[in-house]
C-alpha cells in the first residue's frame, strides 16, 4: 500500500489539515509505511467473527430527559479566539 503525494493532499484536505508542500513526501512515506504495516490484518481469518463494538459489551446508558447543565457560556467563551456579543466570530461564510 503506497500513497502518492496527491492522495496525501486529498487526505489532508478531508482531515482539514494544512500541510506544507515540502512535507508532503515525508507524510507519503510515513503513512505508506503505517498502511503497509496494518495490512497484515488481511491475513487474519475473520470469517464469522462479529466485529467488536465495546470491550464489555455494554449498551449505552440512558438518562431521564431533564435539564442537567446550566448556562456557562461566558466562562466557556473565555477560551475562544474571537467572540462578540456572546457569538463565536469566524470569517464571513455567506456573501
Amino acid at each position: 500500500m503506497s500513497l502518492t503525494p496527491d492522495e496525501v493532499k486529498t487526505i489532508a484536505r478531508l482531515a482539514r489539515l494544512a500541510i506544507g508542500e515540502q512535507d508532503i513526501q515525508q507524510y507519503a512515506r510515513n503513512l505508506s509505511r503505517i498502511l503497509e504495516f496494518v495490512a497484515q490484518l488481511d491475513q487474519a481469518d475473520t470469517r464469522d467473527v462479529v466485529p467488536m463494538a465495546h470491550p464489555l459489551d455494554m449498551a449505552q446508558r440512558l438518562r431521564s430527559d431533564v435539564v442537567s447543565e446550566t448556562d456557562q457560556r461566558d466562562l466557556f467563551q473565555q477560551n475562544a479566539p474571537q467572540v462578540q456579543a456572546g457569538l463565536y466570530i469566524v470569517p464571513k461564510v455567506i456573501e
Binding site: V8, A18, L35, L41, V50, H54, P55, N79
Partner: protein, 484 residues
C-alpha cells in the same frame, strides 16, 4: 522523607510527624532544582500547592483527614484542572485554561491531596517516548540521554525523580505501563470503564482509561480506591461498587495460577528482559503460585489492529479542534476553510497529524470495510484469546516492554519502530482489561518492568499479586543517581 512511599508519608502526616506544608515545600524545592534537567512539568503550581498544603494540615489537625490528605501529587496535563492551563502537550491548547475539573481531579482534591503541577506528555497522548510534546522531550531520570517512555512520560519522570509522591496518567495503548516500566515504577491501567474520563481530553474513546503511576502497588491501591467508581458524566463509566483495594493486598497467593503467553517471548524481546521475567516468576513460584505456559494465538495482530482503531477514533475526536471555540487560531484567515486547515496545521505536531490522516484514510469511503471493520473483527479475536486464557489462569504475566529505555531520537525516523515498543501493551487496551507494570530489575543500569494483566474488574487481585512481589524485592525502592 523523599524516599518514602505514599503510604508511609500518609502515616507520618496522620501521626503529625511531618506537616504537608513541610513536605510540599520540600517537593517544590526539588522541582525547582531538578525539573530543568528532566523537563517533566509543563506547569508548576507553587502558590496553589502551598495553600492546599496548609488547608490539608488544618484538616489533619481537625481529625477528619483522608489517607491522601496532604500528599503532594501531579496530574498529567491531559486532565482538565479548573483555572489552570491544560495543554495536552500541544501547541493547539497552549492557551487553554480549563473551565472545570476532570472527575479524578475532583476526587483527589476532595481527598485532600496537594496538586504540585501538570506533567509533560506526548502530544494528545500519541507517542511512546514523550518526544512528540510541544514542550520538548522529557529525559529519563536514570539516564538523561534516554526517553522516559510515553505518553505519560512526565508523570513517570516526576515520580521517579522524587519530584512528586505519585502522579496520574492515561493509558490508551500502554501509556501508563510502558513509562512506569522504563523509569522503575508501578503503573496501573484499570479496566475500561472503571475510572471516569470526564474532563480527560479524548484520544481513542474505545481504549482510553485513566490510572496512576506510583512507587508501589500499595500506593496505587490507595489512589485507585479514590479515583475509581461510577460517574454519570462519562457514558462509558461502569456502575459497580469499588472495593477497598488496599484491604486485600496481604492475601496470600498460594495456589495462584499465573499464565505466561509463549507469544510474548518473540525474537523482538531483549534476552536479558526475558531472563528478568523468569527470575520474577521464580519468586512467585517460591510464594506458592503455579506458573503455566499459555497461548494468545492472535497476539501478533494487536499492534496493527491498534493502529487502525486508535487513529480512526483520534481523527474523529480531534475534529473538535477547529480554531473557533477554543485552542489555537491561525492569523488572518481568508475564509472558513482556511481558518480550519491552517489552525489545525499549525496547532498539531507531526505525529498527531500522521495519526489524524491515518484515521481519516481508514474511515474514508471505500476503505472502511478493509481497515476499520476488519480491525474490529481482529480486535474481537484478540479479546477472545484473553477470555479463553482467563478460564484457566488468574493473572497473565510477561514483560511490559521488549527492551529497557531507548535513546532520545533513536526511534523518531520510523513511526512503526516506535509503535512496536508497545507490542505487549496494546492488546490489553483492545480487550479492555486491567494491567499494571512493576519494576523487576535492571538491564544495563536501566529499569525493566514486569507486566501483570488481570481479568475484568479484578484490580484488587492484580494489585495484591504485585504487592506480594514487592514484599520480596526492593526494586521499587531504587532511586536514580543524582536525585537522592
Amino acid at each position: 522523607m523523599l524516599t518514602q512511599t505514599l503510604a508511609e508519608l500518609s502515616r507520618d502526616l496522620k501521626a503529625r510527624k511531618v506537616s504537608s506544608a513541610e513536605v510540599t515545600s520540600a517537593y517544590l524545592a526539588r522541582i525547582q532544582r531538578f525539573n530543568p534537567q528532566i523537563n517533566a512539568f509543563i506547569t508548576v503550581l507553587q502558590e496553589q500547592a502551598l495553600a492546599e498544603a496548609r488547608a490539608a494540615d488544618a484538616r489533619i489537625a481537625k481529625g477528619d483527614a483522608h489517607l491522601l490528605t496532604g500528599v503532594p501529587i501531579a496530574h498529567k496535563d491531559i486532565f482538565c484542572t479548573a483555572g489552570v492551563k491544560t495543554s495536552c502537550g500541544s501547541k493547539m491548547l497552549d492557551n487553554f485554561v480549563a473551565p472545570y475539573d476532570a472527575h479524578i481531579v475532583t476526587r483527589l482534591k476532595q481527598a485532600g491531596s496537594v496538586l504540585l503541577g501538570k506533567t509533560n506528555m506526548d502530544e494528545f497522548a500519541m507517542g511512546s517516548s514523550n518526544e512528540t510534546s510541544f514542550y520538548g522531550p522529557v529525559k529519563n531520570p536514570w539516564d538523561s540521554t534516554r526517553v522516559p517512555g510515553g505518553s505519560s512520560g512526565g508523570s513517570a519522570a516526576v515520580v521517579a525523580a522524587r519530584l512528586a509522591c505519585a502522579a496520574t496518567g492515561t493509558d490508551t495503548g500502554g501509556s501508563i505501563r510502558q513509562p512506569a516500566a522504563l523509569v522503575g515504577l508501578t503503573g496501573v491501567k484499570p479496566t475500561y470503564g472503571r475510572v471516569s474520563r470526564y474532563g480527560m481530553i479524548a484520544f481513542a474513546s474505545s481504549l482510553d482509561q485513566a490510572g496512576v503511576i506510583a512507587y508501589t502497588a500499595e500506593d496505587a491501591a490507595l489512589l485507585l480506591s479514590v479515583i475509581a467508581g461510577f460517574d454519570p458524566r462519562d457514558s462509558t463509566s461502569v456502575d459497580r461498587p469499588v472495593p477497598d483495594y488496599a484491604a486485600t493486598l496481604e492475601q496470600p497467593i498460594r495456589g495462584l495460577r499465573i499464565g505466561v503467553p509463549r507469544e510474548f517471548f518473540d525474537p523482538g524481546l531483549d534476552r536479558r528482559v526475558a531472563e528478568a521475567v523468569q527470575t520474577a516468576l521464580s519468586i512467585y513460584k517460591k510464594l506458592g503460585a503455579r506458573v503455566q505456559d499459555i497461548s494468545l494465538p492472535n497476539f501478533g495482530l494487536s499492534v496493527p489492529t491498534y493502529y487502525v482503531v486508535a487513529p480512526a477514533e483520534a481523527s474523529s475526536n480531534l475534529s473538535r479542534f477547529d480554531g473557533v471555540r477554543f485552542g489555537h487560531r491561525c492569523g488572518n484567515p481568508v475564509d472558513l476553510m482556511d481558518l480550519y486547515t491552517r489552525s489545525r496545521g499549525e496547532g498539531f505536531g507531526a505525529e498527531v497529524k500522521r495519526r489524524i490522516m491515518t484515521g481519516t484514510y481508514v474511515l474514508s469511503a471505500g476503505y472502511y470495510d478493509a481497515y476499520y471493520l476488519k480491525a474490529q473483527k481482529t480486535r474481537a479475536l484478540i479479546r477472545r484469546d484473553f477470555l479463553e486464557a482467563f478460564t484457566h489462569v488468574d493473572v497473565i504475566m510477561g514483560p511490559t516492554t521488549p527492551t529497557p529505555a531507548f535513546r532520545l531520537g533513536e526511534k523518531t525516523d520510523d513511526p512503526v519502530t516506535m509503535y512496536l515498543n508497545d507490542i505487549y501493551a496494546n492488546g490489553v487496551n483492545l480487550a479492555g482489561l486491567p494491567g499494571l507494570s512493576i519494576p523487576m530489575g535492571f538491564v544495563d543500569g536501566l529499569p525493566v518492568g514486569l507486566q501483570i494483566i488481570g481479568n475484568y474488574f479484578d484490580e484488587a487481585r492484580m494489585l495484591g499479586v504485585a504487592h506480594q512481589y514487592q514484599r520480596e524485592t526492593d526494586w521499587h525502592r531504587q532511586v536514580p543517581k543524582g536525585f537522592e
